[in-house]
């Protein structure tokens, strides 16, 4: 494989795309915007990525993706600011950050908490990046041997996994995923070009754009949710002594490395993003700590575990996205959309056909981490004020961004209707505990699933037997069955345990 044999040359070529004044400025802009979106409660990383993807049209593919990755990782990190200052996680990944970050803040040590969170996030992000750089080329090489049968089942497994870990019941997660798959069938049939569910509308022949849907589901829907509540958090803590806490973070190196590895491992699984990673890493850290009594009362060790793992999960989530074209979470689903806008398809072919672009992504990720560290340590005080920024202004600008963002994807007024409709539907669906992440992954995975399923059936002359006779495919099917019935199996085992004890 060219990627592995010419690493030095490829990184030099990638550096040529990243270390230009324009690309560096874009990474800095992505970092600053990401921090703004992460620090403001109610705005999410997914929303940031969906809203700013249309701005990347005039950029080169490498510039666009490194800008979006900078936005992604810094928004995941900055969710900690709101979690620490007002006990409201800025993003779902920061839930565990508030367990110890907020008590520290209440003790007047908000600056210390932000400093520890910043350094731990950067170390976690760096470990995630190393795994991505080492693991993804190898996985991409293996993925080239996977056939349509395995790809189809892999897409189903990804959907089952996200339904399994999504909030609410698994049944509702599966409904959301199926709804996403059905939405993906709107437009021309992938193989024959036959128009489906277009109802004679020319705008629907090309299907619904995933970024437009995401602007609706994550942007407009959030605006509607925010309108329910006009109260806004206030920040009373002073932020000082941020840089002084750098050395303290290194006393928790073992915890950070372990938590980062947990984060990467969980991040690789489709659907299981930073929120699950941080809670899992926090739990492991609590059980293995020498000072478990300090957890929940302002332990910097617990804070380091939570923050390093959620940032490491970003690197993990990028692995299946880049090597298989399967999104690990809604954020990587937007990145897939952005890659496609720039004429690139993620998957093993990306490593074979555009190796310099892949190395540019890795280098851009590294630069974004450095910027995140600098901005995080030096500018903590001003962006901490963002948390109490008046909500009406934020909501007005977000609604405006949603309108202009959905229009500019294809210069289409129709897309604005689609985004508004998707937003309102997403808001109503949340009321019945159907959340947008599985829907979006269903929309992204839909074409992959259908194309490979139909191709597999075409190759097998309509027979489904190869799905069960090919070992990897069979293994994946068994995993899906196990996931679907895991709660029933667990219940039965618990009942049997209780029976035998009695």
């Amino acid at each position: 494989m060219e990627y592995l044999s010419n690493l030095g040359e490829l990184y030099l070529s990638g550096a040529g795309q990243v270390f230009t004044p324009r690309a560096l400025l874009l990474i800095l802009a992505g970092t600053l915007l990401g921090i703004v979106f992460g620090a403001l409660p109610g705005l999410s990383s997914t929303m940031a990525l969906a809203l700013f993807t249309p701005l990347t049209f005039a950029m080169s593919p490498a510039e666009a993706i490194v800008f979006l990755i900078a936005l992604y990782i810094s928004s995941v990190y900055a969710g900690a600011v709101a979690a620490i200052l007002v006990n409201i996680p800025g993003t779902p990944s920061s839930i565990a950050t508030s367990f110890d970050g907020y008590p520290l803040s209440q003790r007047g040590e908000a600056g210390r908490a932000i400093g520890v969170a910043t350094v731990a996030s950067v170390i976690g992000g760096a470990i995630g990046l190393v795994v991505l750089m080492v693991g993804s080329p190898l996985l991409a090489q293996m993925a080239r041997r996977i056939g349509s049968w395995e790809y189809a089942i892999l897409a189903l497994l990804a959907l089952t996994l996200i339904s399994y870990v999504s909030p609410g019941t698994m049944l509702r997660g599966l409904i959301a995923g199926t709804l996403g798959l059905l939405i993906a069938t709107i437009g021309s049939d992938l193989i024959l070009g036959y128009p489906r569910f277009t109802f004679g509308t020319s705008e629907l022949v090309g299907g619904l754009d995933v970024v437009v849907l995401m602007i609706g589901l994550f942007g407009f829907a959030e605006v509607f949710s925010e309108l329910e509540n006009t109260a806004r958090p206030s920040v009373k803590q002073r932020v000082h002594g941020v840089a002084r806490s750098v050395r303290e973070t290194f006393t928790h190196t073992k915890t950070i490395v372990r938590s980062s590895l947990i984060g990467v491992g969980i991040g690789v699984l489709p659907g299981a993003g930073g929120s699950i990673a941080s809670i899992a890493a926090y739990g492991v850290s609590l059980r293995t700590s020498r000072k478990p009594q300090e957890y929940g009362k302002g332990s910097t060790e617990g804070l380091s575990a939570a923050e390093s793992s959620n940032n490491a999960s970003v690197g993990g989530a990028l692995v299946p996205m880049m090597t298989l074209g399967i999104p690990g979470d809604p954020m990587t689903a937007v990145l897939i959309g952005a890659l496609m806008i720039h004429g690139l398809a993620p998957g093993p072919q990306l490593y074979a056909n555009n190796p310099a672009f892949v190395s540019a992504i890795f280098l851009g990720y590294l630069v974004a981490l450095v910027f995140m560290l600098i901005v995080g340590l030096l500018a903590a005080r001003p962006y901490a004020r963002l948390v109490s920024f008046p909500r009406p202004y934020v909501m007005g600008v977000i609604a405006l961004l949603c309108v202009v963002g959905s229009y500019s994807i294809q210069n289409s007024i129709f897309d604005v209707w689609v985004a508004v409709a998707a937003g309102f539907a997403g808001y109503l669906l949340k009321k019945v505990h159907i959340y947008p992440a599985p829907i979006v992954l269903g929309v992204v995975l839909g074409p992959l699933l259908e194309h490979n399923l139909r191709r597999a059936l075409f190759l097998g002359d309509g027979s489904i037997m190869p799905f069960f006779t090919r070992p990897i495919s069979l293994l994946l099917i068994l995993t899906i069955i196990l996931l679907l019935f895991s709660s029933q199996i667990g219940q039965r085992l618990r009942r049997r345990d209780a029976g035998s004890r009695a």
Binding site: L179, V223, G396, V397, I434, F458, G462
Partner: protein, 176 residues
């Protein structure tokens, strides 16, 4: 109303979800009834895949309905109680915002980005504000922020992003 029926209706959200899912399943079958039947050797029938998904959705919806009925008949606390009752002013905010946003594509087409964007941004700010604390000065402040945001976005998308935003067909010469 009998207590049993009242308990069943308390699970309205699951009933609504289940019934909507079944309605969607039927709609998929109805909309795909004329799709051609093509042999697998020639690419396969284009309607089969969505119909399979519709069946899956139908089955999952039936399971949701079944669960809701079981929970209500056994007097178990479903998810209905976790649903917060919205205050009336929140309902008005959401209705007003939805109405404006549904109008915004037409306004965008007719009035162009600058005017529509300012209206949308200002109106959404007003919807999200605490109405009892609104003063003329704060509204003027919001209007100036809205206009500033619109002009900044116009610069970002047109000059930096290389996108042309709508100029409006209702106004002569598309001055806006």
């Amino acid at each position: 109303m009998s207590p049993t029926l009242r308990r069943v209706l308390r699970e309205w959200h699951s009933l609504a979800l289940g019934l909507s899912g079944i309605a969607l399943t039927i709609a998929v079958f109805w909309a795909s009834r004329h799709y051609p039947s093509i042999p697998w050797a020639s690419g396969g029938p284009p309607g089969d895949y969505p119909r399979i998904l519709a069946v899956v959705l139908g089955v999952l919806s039936l399971l949701v309905l079944g669960q809701a009925l079981r929970d209500s008949l056994h007097g178990r606390c479903g998810e209905a109680r976790s649903l917060r009752r919205l205050p009336p002013d929140a309902i008005w905010r959401i209705v007003a915002a939805t109405a404006l946003l549904l109008l915004s594509p037409a306004l965008l087409h007719g009035l162009g980005f600058v005017i529509t964007g300012t209206i949308v941004c200002l109106f959404m700010m007003l919807c999200a504000a605490e109405w009892s604390r609104l003063r003329l000065r704060s509204i003027a402040w919001m209007a100036s922020i809205a206009l500033g945001a619109v002009l900044a976005l116009q610069f970002a998308f047109e000059d930096f992003g290389g996108k042309r935003l709508p100029t409006g067909t209702w106004l002569s010469g598309g001055a806006f």
